[in-house]
């Protein structure tokens, strides 16, 4: 999601809410005998508000499962997830009075910090990487299709070399095929680890009749290279979710148990 000028109302709302709760907390902290803590009325209010925002944050996952339901625009949900999510950290810190204390509350606080930090990292990556992807991977395909497309590219290259209809010496054909097997095929099989073939030198080493075929092979290699780059960028774009989502769920589960136990005791 690109964070642009259209986010300004959310930014203003978040900053305003942050200032309001900070002022409320400061007054409460100064006036409470024994200092601020989760068990007071104000402390509980911060805690309830923080957990409510967390639940809303978690609902984004549910919203994605039912995209056709009329639950508001996906963009609005995403913006709410991003900007309200930032508020959970001050809300919960104010709830706890900036103390980690018991094992459960300490783990909850650590989880919250990691979840918010990973979310912010994700927001930064999702702001910058899509543009990079568009610019550096013009031959982009659907991520899940990459293995399938790559297999087709390999087949296309093999077919191109096998059915080469060029009037040339038999030795030249053999040499061309040998060059393909030595430098192009390994790259197509493992573009992440093998060295890119140097087509300029291949052109110099082969007769001109082979150059159109070499151009096609180069085009296939360029697409392969881009798909490899797309895969790498996609991992950057989504790998943070491996931290963010599981820990968010753990946070919601443990937070719920903490809320029940805290209200009970």
């Amino acid at each position: 999601m690109r964070i642009d000028r259209t986010h300004r109302p959310w930014l203003v709302g978040t900053v305003t809410a942050f200032l309001a709760i900070t002022i409320a907390y400061t007054v409460y902290a100064l006036r409470t005998p024994g200092g601020p803590r989760g068990g007071t009325i104000v402390g509980l209010t911060f805690g309830v508000a923080g957990y409510a925002v967390m639940l809303f944050e978690g609902l984004l996952g549910v919203r994605k499962k039912v995209p056709i339901w009329r639950l508001g625009r996906a963009q609005t949900w995403m913006r709410g997830h991003l900007w309200l999510g930032i508020l959970t950290l001050p809300l919960i810190l104010f709830h706890a009075g900036f103390a980690f204390r018991g094992p459960l509350t300490a783990i909850l606080m650590a989880l919250l910090v990691i979840v918010v930090a990973s979310g912010l990292l994700g927001a930064i990556l999702q702001h910058y990487l899509p543009r990079t992807l568009t610019k550096r991977v013009p031959m982009e395909t659907i991520y899940e299709e990459i293995p399938h497309v790559r297999a087709q590219l390999r087949d296309e290259a093999e077919q191109l070399v096998t059915t080469l209809a060029v009037e040339a010496e038999h030795d030249d054909k053999l040499r061309f095929r040998e060059s393909y097997e030595r430098s192009i095929r390994p790259f197509l099989n493992a573009p992440e680890t093998a060295a890119s073939p140097i087509f300029e030198s291949l052109r110099r080493a082969t007769p001109a009749a082979f150059h159109p075929a070499l151009d096609d092979l180069e085009n296939i290699c360029i697409e392969e290279h881009q798909l490899s780059r797309q895969r790498r960028l996609y991992h950057w774009l989504h790998a943070w979710l491996l931290v963010h989502v599981p820990l968010s769920v753990a946070l919601l589960v443990l937070g719920g148990i903490h809320a029940v136990m805290a209200l009970r005791y």
Binding site: P33, L241, L242, Y265
Partner: protein
């Protein structure tokens, strides 16, 4: 050769239309890790519940004195209509908490001032706000112990002198080479004052250097008791010497007793009256001072006047400025909260607690 082309049709044709039915690495790992994280969370707390490790749910470490209750939440959290709550009964079953004073405007709940689950600090050390919720008017002129707090009443300008009646020069007693029972001595404060707040007594602290031997003809010193007993002692021992009772007594009163006491005679020829020593044991009646906690400082660092004081009337209590040198509110200073010196509960009214707990409640 026509050359390779990437038309929309060609691109569309190479798409596997069933791709969305398969799970790819990142979504698969995301799902697995999510299930694992949720499972571990529930398993941890479930295990803690089953094995009675209530500390897992603890809202924070208990104060040092309550550490033993860590795995027995119900010691303090008593069942109520909804869930549990901390009742006054739970606190009072182990601690008697006498009231502050008869005219107190309200009695706060124990947990208003004594905040638990905040770590191993002293639970009795309450915050300033605990005091100012009633004594809010103090904050108008007392910002802190170091700002606006008046000096101690006993040393304020115009204060009353020491009411003690014993003629004592601290300066003389701190001189070197004083005449002791076994040769020259150098007295230190603790020789007379010890580290307790009790007043020095003649028998324990004075007699060894100041025996009541007023006449070498008497084989033993006079008793340090009321004048009637002393008179009887003189009468009893006078039979052995050629001296009148009046002469012996005159020597005793005028030479020996008068060295420390101020004598008054109700009528000529009668026995003198000796006023009570009236040694002030506690100068600061509205606060507590623990000499034991201050032993790392030499006595004369605070009671500097003792080295030069020649009069009983001198009040040797240090002023607040002396305290503020250490209790100054800086990061590494000694404590400055109200509760450090001023007690809330009137301990003179304290009753023994009537606990209902068994050892088994805590031995987990």
């Amino acid at each position: 050769m026509a050359g390779r082309t990437r038309t929309t049709k060609k691109l569309a044709q190479r798409i596997d239309l069933h791709y969305f039915k398969r799970m790819y690495p990142i979504p698969r790992w995301k799902r697995l890790l999510t299930i694992l994280a949720a499972g571990l969370s529930v398993a941890w707390l479930g295990w803690a519940s089953l094995t009675g490790k209530q500390s897992a749910f603890n809202a924070g470490p208990l104060a040092k004195g309550h550490t033993i209750l860590t795995n027995n939440c119900s010691s303090c959290h008593v069942a109520a209509d909804f869930g549990t709550k901390i009742t006054e009964t739970a606190c009072l079953s182990c601690h008697d908490a006498p009231i502050h004073q008869a005219k107190q405007s309200f009695t706060p709940a124990c947990t208003t001032c004594h905040i638990e689950h905040q770590g191993a600090f002293q639970l009795a050390a309450t915050s300033e706000a605990s005091c100012t919720q009633c004594h809010g008017n103090l904050t108008a002129h007392i910002a802190s112990f170091n700002s606006g707090h008046p000096d101690f009443a006993a040393v304020r300008p115009g204060h009353a002198p020491d009411p003690g009646t014993i003629k004592l020069s601290h300066q003389v007693h701190l001189k070197s080479d004083l005449k002791g029972p076994n040769g020259p001595v150098q007295l230190v404060c603790a020789n007379c004052h010890g580290v307790s707040a009790a007043a020095p007594t003649y028998a324990e602290h004075c007699a060894s250097c100041h025996p009541l031997v007023f006449d070498s003809k008497f084989s033993e010193p006079a008793p340090h008791q009321d004048t009637k007993t002393v008179h009887d002692f003189v009468v009893k021992n006078q039979a052995n010497i050629a001296q009148s009772i009046e002469a012996a007594e005159r020597l005793l009163w005028q030479k020996t007793c008068k060295e420390c006491h101020t004598l008054t005679y109700p009528a000529p020829g009668e026995r003198p009256e000796i006023p009570k020593s009236a040694i002030t044991v506690r100068w600061m009646t509205h606060s507590e001072f623990d000499h034991n906690a201050h032993q790392l400082v030499a006595c004369t660092e605070c009671h500097a006047q003792a080295k030069t004081s020649n009069r009983t009337e001198d009040v040797l209590l240090p002023g607040i400025a002396t305290c503020q040198k250490c209790h100054n509110g800086s990061k590494y200073s000694a404590e400055v909260r109200c509760s450090e010196c001023h007690l809330y509960h009137d301990r003179t009214k304290m009753k023994p607690a009537l606990s209902v707990h068994a050892i088994a409640d805590f031995a987990r």
